[in-house]
Each structure stands twice: as structure tokens, then as C-alpha cells.
């Protein structure tokens, strides 16, 4: 049982936790957070495979001790996940504003955005 195996197991657990939150939680923002947890778990699995792949060889003698290709893929994945999260959150906020405007016009919907004091 090495450190990488521990982190790999916690990555697997993160996938389970994220999946549960994604399926079960009714709130959309929490689904987005759970999606990020799920992604974090998957990236951890990549990282464990990368660390295991470099143990025998320190690439370029710079002390880097992992397989660089999965690590580069994880960096790419992090940025793409950020882009997806960003547009999901902006969609969610747009939806909240439109609901608020519709309820102000009195169509019976009861959702109001929290009033943010101090302008915005």
C-alpha cells in the first residue's frame, strides 16, 4: 500500500461521491459542484497512473518523477472542465434572473433572487 494507491482509492471514492451528488441533489448549483468533484476524482486516477509510470525514470533529470503525458492531459482536462463549469454557472444565473423577472411580472412563480445589498 503506497501513497499512490491511497490517492487512487480516494479518487475512486471521489467519483462515487460526485456521482451521488450529481444524481441526487435537486439544486442545479450543487450538481455543478458535484460534477467538479467527479472530474477531480477522474483526474486523480490519471495522476496515479502517471506517478506509477514514472517511478523508474526521472525524466530529463529535473526531479520530475511521473509520466508527463497523463499529467499534460489532466492539465488540459482541468481547463476544459473550467470552461464547462463557467458556462453552466452563467446559464444558471441567467435562468435565475429570467425567473425573477417573470415572477415580478406576476406569473405565479415564487422564486426571487437574493437581494444583494450595495448594488451590483
Amino acid at each position: 500500500m503506497t501513497g499512490e494507491t491511497l490517492f487512487g482509492l480516494s479518487g475512486a471514492a471521489l467519483v462515487g461521491i460526485g456521482l451521488y451528488g450529481l444524481i441526487c441533489h435537486p439544486g442545479a448549483l450543487r450538481k455543478i459542484v458535484a460534477f467538479n468533484l467527479l472530474g477531480g476524482g477522474v483526474f486523480l486516477l490519471f495522476g496515479v497512473i502517471a506517478k506509477r509510470g514514472g517511478g523508474a525514470l526521472a525524466v530529463a533529470g529535473k526531479g520530475a518523477d511521473g509520466d508527463p503525458v497523463p499529467q499534460a492531459l489532466v492539465i488540459t482536462g482541468l481547463v476544459v472542465a473550467f470552461a464547462a463549469t463557467a458556462i453552466a454557472i452563467v446559464l444558471l444565473r441567467g435562468l435565475g434572473e429570467r425567473r425573477a423577472r417573470a415572477s415580478q411580472k406576476g406569473d405565479g412563480s415564487s422564486i426571487q433572487p437574493k437581494r444583494h445589498s450595495g448594488g451590483g
Binding site: 450543487r30 506509477r52 509510470g53 514514472g54 530529463a60 518523477d65 463557467a86
Partner: protein, 320 residues
């Protein structure tokens, strides 16, 4: 049971504990704050996995920028429904889903425990092909030379995300300035921070990009720091975000990917393959691409954080 293993175990437990806290938090705000703590601990896990570049990216992009968006959404949206809301899955189906997710996690855990030994790896191949690129950081070499197509697509994908965010503006706000940054009433400490920190932040950001050629670093991490400094200035109200219809903004946003694409297409003639670098020109071309991309990425990330354009209510020409 070495001390390193104990530390790794504690770290893994903390990460999992925070993940559970994030999933079962009572408020969206608590979930967002817990997510940021989880992200920083995850960056520590990446350092333990000898992936410092990934740790920097996780801390900068995964935690910092995503956390900013989550906090903003949690503060402005109506309180999301909790687990007890009427539309939520009932207790029985939640138990069932929990069991199934446990099965998925157990399956992945079994995969982790039965990974092949000796581990298959591309590290020797990367080490062989790193010297022609004249960068010493193997991850930069992989990102910019061996898997440059991935990096090109990754930088290009941020632009449709930005366009998508801009397209969510209302009709009256179309093409205006983003209006959803949480501008507080003018606050002394925040103004001080926004005046003192950006010079150092810009230095740190450019240093991260420059040093990424030989040590852990890179343009995504540096661009995230630059974007954060820009957004700090915007949040403090010292500058207004640019109108999204501005030609200069749009030109600078596409400049980086265009340079990357242009050099890639030129590689078809000069080096016989798309995104191949001619002999001896690898380092200058990589530096050019990274410089252009850092500028564009910083702008794109900053504008993503700024949000969709909105009607400018403080503008006297515009009615309520």
C-alpha cells in the same frame, strides 16, 4: 507504515471529508466555500503525486477561478432546493443511488488495486524526444510539442465558452460591458489591495509562464494569475470591464489561438506536419506561441469571470 504514508493517508481523508461536506452542505454558499478548501487540498495531493504543474493548475484554475464563479452564483441565486425539497429523490431512491455509486467507486478502486506492474509508461519516449524541443520541463514539452494539437484545441475551446457567456446577455445589454462583477460600495481595504497586489501578481504571472519552459509552470497557470489580478482591479471598481463589442478586445482574444494555428499550418510546409516545428526553431516558436497565448488566455479567463454583458445602470444615458 512510514511517515510519508501517514501524511498521505491524512491528506486523502481530509480531501474525502471535505468532498462529503461539500455534497451534504446545507447551503450553496457553504458548498462553494468547502469546494475551495477541497481544491487547495487537492493541489497538495497533486504535489505528493509529483505533478507540480498539475497542482499549480488545480490551485489557479480549478480552485481559484471556479471558486470565484461558484461563490458569485451562490451569493446571487435564490437558495437552491435542499435534499428535503419536495422534488428531491426520496430516501429510498437515495439509498439505492448511494449503493450504485458505491459499486462504481468500488469497481474503480478494484481497478486501482490491480493496475499492471511494471506500469506501462511513455516517460522514456518523452525523455528521448525532449532535447529537440530545447525545453527542460517535460510537461511543457508534451503540451507544446508532442501533443500540441490538444493544447490548440484546449485554448480554442475557451473562446466558444466566452461566446456562449456573451450570448446570454439580455437584448438591451447586448454588446455592452459585463455588469455582474460584485462591485461593492467603494471600500478602502479592497482599493488598497487592488492597487498594491497587481504589480506583484503580474510579475508572478509572467514569471510562471517564462519559467514553465524549464521548471514547473506554464501559460495556463500564469494566465490565470494575470486574469485574477485584472478581475481584482475590476471588482474594486478601479477600472470598468471593456465593452464586449470592442474590436480590440476581440482581436486580442483570438490573437493567441490564431498565432498557434498559423505556426501550426506553417509547419506543414516547413516541417512536413501540422504543428511540427522546423529544426532548431522549436524554442523560439514555442516562446512566441506561449507569449501570444498568455495574453489571449488572460483576457479570455478574465472576461469569463466578468460574465455576460448587461445594461449599465450607472450610465446616465441609459434608462432604468
Amino acid at each position: 507504515m512510514t511517515s510519508a504514508l501517514v501524511v498521505d493517508g491524512l491528506l486523502a481523508l481530509l480531501v474525502l471529508g471535505l468532498a462529503l461536506r461539500v455534497t451534504f452542505a446545507r447551503t450553496d454558499y457553504g458548498s462553494a466555500v468547502g469546494f475551495m478548501g477541497y481544491g487547495l487540498l487537492l493541489a497538495l495531493v497533486w504535489v505528493r503525486l509529483a505533478a507540480v504543474d498539475v497542482a499549480l493548475t488545480e490551485a489557479a484554475v480549478g480552485t481559484g477561478l471556479t471558486g470565484f464563479l461558484l461563490l458569485g452564483a451562490a451569493a446571487r441565486l435564490a437558495p437552491g432546493e435542499s435534499f428535503d425539497a419536495p422534488g428531491a429523490p426520496g430516501f429510498g431512491s437515495r439509498i439505492l443511488v448511494g449503493l450504485l455509486c458505491g459499486v462504481v467507486a468500488a469497481g474503480l478502486g478494484a481497478v486501482v488495486l490491480s493496475l499492471p506492474d511494471p506500469a506501462p509508461t511513455l516517460a522514456p519516449l518523452v525523455a528521448e524526444n525532449l532535447p529537440p524541443t530545447e525545453v527542460a520541463n517535460p510537461i511543457t514539452g508534451v503540451l507544446m510539442a508532442h501533443r500540441a494539437v490538444d493544447t490548440l484545441l484546449e485554448t480554442v475551446v475557451l473562446i466558444p465558452a466566452l461566446i456562449g457567456i456573451w450570448s446570454l446577455a439580455s437584448d438591451s445589454g447586448w454588446g455592452g460591458r459585463p455588469g455582474s462583477l460584485p462591485l461593492l460600495r467603494s471600500s478602502g481595504p479592497l482599493t488598497l489591495l487592488a492597487q498594491v497586489l497587481p504589480p506583484f501578481g503580474i510579475l508572478v504571472g509572467i514569471h510562471l509562464v517564462w519559467v514553465g519552459a524549464d521548471e514547473p509552470g506554464g501559460k495556463f497557470q500564469g494566465a490565470a494569475v494575470l486574469a485574477a489580478m485584472w478581475v481584482l482591479v475590476l471588482v474594486a471598481g478601479l477600472r470598468r470591464p471593456p465593452a464586449v463589442i470592442g474590436q480590440r478586445l476581440r482581436l486580442l482574444v483570438v490573437l493567441g489561438p490564431l498565432v498557434f494555428l498559423g505556426i501550426g499550418i506553417a509547419g506543414i510546409w516547413l516541417a512536413r506536419a501540422f504543428l511540427a516545428y522546423p529544426e532548431g526553431w522549436a524554442k523560439p516558436l514555442i516562446l512566441t506561441i506561449e507569449a501570444a497565448l498568455t495574453l489571449s488566455l488572460a483576457l479570455v479567463l478574465g472576461m469569463i469571470l466578468a460574465g455576460p454583458p448587461a445594461v449599465d445602470r450607472s450610465d446616465p444615458k441609459v434608462g432604468p
